[in-house]
Symmetry: none
Subunit: 413 residues, 2 copies
């Protein structure tokens, strides 16, 4: 038995007055999700634990069976892994933004307009640069999507205990990076990060692409904001090592891909998958159906549901949920339930009224041979709470799926 | 308030196509279990944790309130305790099989035909033997049921980190026992176990009972297979020490009895209790009714439901479930609900289609004075999931019962 897990990022919500106190999941037209709920087993799941809002990174760690309190040491390394950079033990990695600053280093736009022209070329100019004061530090820098980049520092005596340069809002000064503890390593790494930031700014400022922008009167991309410094947990055993299952991921979000790679999933690229509302869910579903022939476990991540939640855009969230429904519909039509389970959930709730992740549990449904079916007939936050799975934790999901796949190991005799 | 806990071993299951996607519990005629569900509180229980298949030993430890990850160091000591052998700290104990091997030590029958004639006499010939190379090692050997025996080694410097000689299938060589770590103790114990195995074979081979079998042309019982080497956790406080409750067990399975003895239960023998499908459940129920006068907690174990599950025999499983129902019916008729709780559950799921333990939760129902009753009216894997207990873990069961018994201790003021 195999398994496909579909996650609608931030898909779960709270009742909304404008929707007559229903949630987007309840209002959206979701015949396939409801079919899955009706013919499968449902429940609700606390990604980390009740009332604790999970990030996409910590939620994914938990959902893949890795206690985030044990395996999470900052966002940076997952972002970097997802971007395709190598992250080794001892490396310190960052999530970065292309940004626009003025001559006083006041951040005019934390995202430099979000759509960065020739971002890869700009990033290339920053990759592998040498620092005069720190000649033994290797710098790896890479652009991912829009304004987003990743940075990995490699060298002796580094620490992730340093603050961000990203002020997290516009029109204030870029922050100097400071050590967050009293160790020599933290002070050393803060110094490196500050020198690097100033060199990055110099290189970008003098880059021909920015010269052209200035002539055009366009917004320049003349700074890099660093945040989420982190290291990788030393001993992340892969899903294969833990459960003897080969695994692949279909998705584009760098942070989530990073977590997937860290647990040993192979990335399957899909033409038309964008990580936004216009993503081609049918293409993703088709790839998943293909991939389940080659892998025991295929993880399909749909980022689109989270962005409108953060933007407070209820209507677009409903549209994205309906796209998740389309995706699941294609799976239901093309997957033999005697050969593969299909599970659908969210990595966390992102209530549109909150525009941020909340600690509410998320709905979960599993269908396939061997599953005990319950009476739930709708896939929603409340309906699923009446389901036969009860209320579980994110960390229990993979053990449950692995057991239904017939790959669990008995403890005792 | 007192409590009787009835466990149908491996009683829980998954939906079965031949039963119109119902489980054996749903199909069996169980008026008494359903009455208990209707008038009591129901829930589902993960013996260890969601998706983790429990052994009967680890499940029983958990259900009695002992974290199996803390208290389980191999099956052997529980098997030996259950057989009536003494197991002290430092002893290494094994589960053993009478077996039939040929002159090349190829295992012809791991169970020597299962029904061993004069097994007690054969076992007696192996008990208390002395090893020439290891004069300070005491050997205790005892027959339990059918082909099953238990062995306890006592002496200085022993370790349980050794492999089995049981190859776990017929027609291949008996395995040499090997140390599983680099310690002197493991190497020493492996040497002892190998010498013992060869002496056991010699004694059995020359035993007059086997001479007779050879003359008759019957299958000889000429080898002992060792497995499940283990030690006892040093500090198992009894249920009485933990909760101030006196406890007794009614059952015959050596492994389960061993766990019961380890947590301080007194064994009540019942004429007609066999551990198989033909067990006299009425006799067990009568003994339980008698015993609850003398003990605070009476545990009734019915092994019969697990064997047909492992054999894939759905019909016999249903019959055995109906026997559990008879047992519970007798309890309901003869126990005053103001004086004693009755709780029924399974130690783990053993889906007949899987023929092995699975990690699915098991149904649970509790009846008696003080219990909050819910809307569940059928005792089944799914119906109980809608119950007022929600989804609990095995380790929570005894604290819940002890609290309903009025014997719990407040934490805080």
């Amino acid at each position: 038995m195999k398994a496909i897990l579909v996650v609608g990022d931030g898909m779960a919500d709270r009742p909304i007055r404008e929707l007559a106190m229903k949630t987007p999941l309840q209002v959206a037209n979701t015949p396939s999700l409801d079919k899955l709920a009706r013919n499968g087993i449902c429940g609700i799941m606390d990604p980390i634990s009740p009332g604790v809002p999970a990030g996409s990174d910590t939620a994914h760690l938990a959902i893949f069976g890795y206690d985030p309190y044990k395996y999470y040491f900052g966002r940076g390394p997952f972002e970097a892994l997802g971007a395709g950079l190598e992250v080794a033990p001892g490396d310190v990695a960052f999530r970065c933004n292309f940004a626009t600053v003025n001559e006083d280093m006041i951040v005019l736009d934390r995202r430099a307009g979000r759509k960065i022209e020739s971002a890869d070329t700009l990033a290339e100019a920053l990759n592998c640069i040498k620092l005069n004061s720190f000649p033994d530090i290797l710098v790896n820098f890479k652009h991912t999507t829009e304004h987003r980049c990743a940075l990995v520092l490699r060298g002796p005596g580094l620490s992730s205990k340093i603050s961000d340069s990203d002020p997290n809002q516009n029109d204030i000064l870029m922050l100097p990076i400071k050590p967050l503890d009293d160790t020599r390593e933290a002070a050393h790494t803060a110094n490196i990060a500050n020198e690097l930031t100033s060199i990055f700014c110099k290189i970008l400022d003098g880059h021909p692409l920015n010269e052209i922008k200035r002539i055009k009167g366009a917004k320049v991309t003349n700074a890099i904001l660093l945040r989420g410094a982190g290291i990788l947990s030393k001993e992340i055993k892969t899903l294969n090592e833990r459960y003897g299952i080969s695994a692949a991921v279909i998705g584009v979000n760098a942070l989530v891909l990073g977590v997937c790679k860290a647990v040993g999933m192979q990335h399957i690229k899909v033409e038309g998958a964008t990580g936004t509302v216009d993503t081609d869910v049918k293409a993703k579903a088709k790839k998943a159906v293909e991939a389940i022939d080659r892998f025991d476990f295929v993880y399909v991540h749909v980022k689109g549901t989270d962005n409108p939640s953060h933007d407070g855009d209820c209507e677009q969230k409903i549209q994205c949920i309906e796209k998740v429904d389309d995706l699941v519909g294609h799976l239901l039509d093309n997957i033999d339930s005697r050969e593969s389970l299909i599970a659908v959930t969210a990595d966390h709730s992102t209530p549109v009224k909150l525009r941020e992740h909340s600690g509410d549990p998320v709905p979960l449904a599993i269908i396939g041979e061997g599953v005990r079916t319950d009476n739930v007939s709708q896939f929603s936050e409340i309906d699923c709470s009446y389901g036969g799975l009860g209320r579980i934790k994110g960390i229990d999901l993979i053990p449950i799926l692995v057991d239904l796949m017939g790959k669990s190991k008995k403890y005792g005799s």
